[in-house]
């Protein structure tokens, strides 16, 4: 365990050096500036034996400061690893990665997106952790006809048709390799009511757009299956003390609690849960998968024992691609990957395969979009494909339970809801 902690620090240093490398590359680009948009590649770059095609510029907008910084680092690690494995080239085009910090502020996110469009003139944009930032830049991306692969933010509206495009709506240029709130919340609700035989649930979620969406979608799935929601409680993001909340949960009778929390909130919640002896009192912790994702689990360890969550991936997932991915990631960085890494990894895979289909061409947007729409591959999470209608992934949802195996707390797969498709049109 201690060894692992050291590794985390080592991994971080490595990342920083790479960050500098990438940054100086970006600086060089800014200094020279592209005199024109990269020349169309076309057929000349088709085969591996041909001389390298024009640089493929990928702009990654990720958080490297503020509370989501480690999510950004994780996604960057996966991206760098993918490019490294491919020898620095996708479809024979040498890859230039440009990383920008979104600083968890839509104003900064919008400005950096402008940099990708006007200054760097990237071929593809990826990233964005926070849903409001994705919503903030959606129109600019759509107007610029820039291909954007969303690799985290899960707000439902980003891949749906909505009234007046409020708060956001799908775009033919936007694809998502992560998930929608619906996907990680509705199926587990239905599953609880129909397959697990849970009659009553109390919801306790983070009081912001995403937490509320998760609670609503869970409630729909659960009540549709015949379950009953007996009450709800909300906590602001970044609540210091979770004891008052858990005390309230303990003061009511419903034993099954559904939660959406992530990061620090999830850690403080789970710790307060154990401290007040909730498991012994018969309460059961359930939630959307981020509640017990790797970043949380490595801190709370066995305190999360027994928590049931749904997510499209788990580090223990038993398939060849996942095993290869986890091994390679561990070998490179001496630490376990998390779901954020998988999302970025699959974003790179999707681009890679689409590029191969277009023989490296990104200038014909419609052809590139069609290629992306037709991408199908084996992801570490299982079968991956985009819903052609919405560009949201069609993916299996795993019902996971935290168990202590060999002294380590891990998410084990207990069941699966196959091919979950977001109901957006």
């Amino acid at each position: 365990m201690d060894e692992n902690k050291g590794a985390v620090r080592r991994g971080y240093r490595l990342t920083r050096r790479q960050f500098l490398a990438a940054s100086s590359a970006a600086a060089a680009i800014a200094a020279c500036g592209p005199a024109a948009t990269p020349a169309p590649s076309g057929a000349a770059t088709g085969t591996a034996t041909a001389s390298p095609g024009p640089a493929l510029k990928i702009g990654q907008l990720l958080p490297f400061t503020k509370v989501y910084a480690e999510l950004g680092n994780s996604m960057k690690r996966a991206t760098d690893l993918y490019v490294k494995q491919k020898g620095g080239k996708l479809a024979n085009r040498p890859v230039t990665l440009i990383y920008e910090d979104e600083a968890n502020d839509p104003v900064v996110g919008a400005q950096k997106t402008g940099k990708f469009i006007d200054q760097d003139r990237v071929d593809v944009m990826m990233g964005i952790v926070a849903t409001p930032i994705a919503y903030a830049v959606r129109n600019a991306i759509d107007a610029a006809k820039l291909i954007f692969i969303e690799t985290n933010a899960g707000g439902n509206a980003l891949t749906r048709t909505t009234t007046n495009c409020t708060p956001s709506c799908k775009s033919k240029y936007i694809f998502r390799t992560s998930f929608s709130s619906y996907q990680i919340s509705y199926p587990i609700g239905e599953y609880f009511a129909t397959k697990k035989g849970v009659k009553e649930v109390f919801t306790f979620v983070a009081d912001y757009g995403f937490g509320n969406e998760s609670a609503a979608d869970f409630t729909t799935g659960f009540t549709k299956g015949g379950g009953k929601i007996t009450g709800s409680l909300k906590a602001p993001l970044g609540s210091a003390d979770f004891l008052p909340y858990v005390t309230t949960l303990k003061g009511q009778q419903t034993k099954d609690i559904y939660s959406f929390f992530s990061g620090t909130d999830a850690i403080n919640y789970i710790k307060a849960w154990t401290q007040l002896g909730m498991p012994a009192a018969g309460y059961k912790m359930n939630g959307a998968g981020f509640l017990t994702e790797q970043d949380v689990l490595k801190e709370v360890k066995e305190q999360a024992n027994g928590a049931v969550t749904s997510l499209f991936w788990a580090v223990t997932l038993d398939n060849a691609e996942n095993k290869a991915f986890v091994d390679a990631y561990q070998k490179e960085y001496s630490l376990l990957p998390d779901v954020f890494a998988v999302q970025a990894w699959d974003g790179m895979q999707a681009i890679d395969l689409a590029l191969q289909a277009t023989k490296g061409d990104t200038t014909n947007k419609d052809a590139f979009i069609a290629a992306l729409e037709n991408v199908k591959f084996k992801s570490p999470r299982g079968d991956f494909e985009f819903d052609k209608e919405t560009h949201n992934p069609i993916q299996d949802m795993y019902i996971r339970e935290v168990k202590v195996q060999g002294g380590q707390a891990v998410n084990t797969i207990v069941d699966k809801v196959a091919r979950v498709i977001d109901p957006g049109k």
């Binding site: 920083r16 960050f19 500098l20 940054s23 100086s24 970006a26 600086a27 800014a30 500036g33 592209p34 005199a35 490297f64 400061t65 920008e100 910090d101 600083a103 502020d105 839509p106 104003v107 900064v108 919008a110 400005q111 950096k112 402008g114 940099k115 006007d118 200054q119 849903t131 409001p132 919503y135 903030a136 959606r138 129109n139 600019a140 707000g155 509206a157 007046n164 495009c165 409020t166 708060p167 956001s168 912001y208 757009g209 995403f210 993001l237």
Partner: protein, 318 residues
Amino acid sequence: MRRLVAPAAAAIAAALLVTFPIWSSAWESSRYATTILQSMLVVAILALSLDLLVGSAGMPSLGHAAYFGAGAYAAAIAGQRLGSDDLLLGLGAAVLISALLALAIGAVAVRATGIFFLMLTLAFAQMVFAIAFQAADITGGSNGFSGVRRPTFVGLDFNDATALFHLVAVAFLLVLALIWRIRSSTYGRALVGLRENERRMRALGYDTTRLKLSAFVLAGAIAGIGGALQAYSIRFVSTNDVGVARSVEAFVSVLIGGVSTLLGPVFGAVVVVFIERVLDSYIPYADTVLGVVFIVFVLAARQGIVGLARVTYARVRA
């Protein structure tokens, strides 16, 4: 002759600023530079308005983003609800709402001074933040308000990026001119009197509470214009725009530029935006640089950037 030099230089500088996207267009970074300049001008408007309080009247408000954000939301919501893209309507709504908000909060806050004033303005701003966060039906809550419509004005369509820059630059210049006028007016001197010695001002027959409140409302209204312009620029308003980080950004812009100098807040905004949103593309420790810049300036330049420039100028001439 000398009397003409300064106004002529100012006019040339103003013209160069407004036409930046045009004369820089041959430069391949022109568009992104324009974007950055535009956000600098928006933050500069916010900082200029705050300096009316911090610098002139000696009222250190740490909740100025409340009025900036209120203006942003007001312009966005007015455009959506009234179905009109008229610029005057949008800006009018921004000024009205942020002035009213400043009036309501100011009526209570201006009774306090010093740290109590600072904390009260922060407290009210956090309440405004909470309202913006919770009133999701109106503001979009934590998801933000997207699809802000860009305005039109007597045949000018600000959907065009260059036209929008002209708008922001002209608004900035008008605000600058307004602040310059205020500073040289009796009203402006009365505000400085407040900072220097409030008791004496009262003895001289000034209703100091009213004077402070009027400054608070005026500063709020100008901040609201800044907010509206940002909403038009990025076509999005988020709760960050009423958050404490935005307030602090404005506050440090004022302090680093030089309190109670006309151009100080502008330079401060330029420095802060450059380090936080531009330099950070190239170094992973931009916050450290920003912090060190604050420390160095505080120790080396008593009157901020402008003060430093003055001292240097005096030395060069001597």
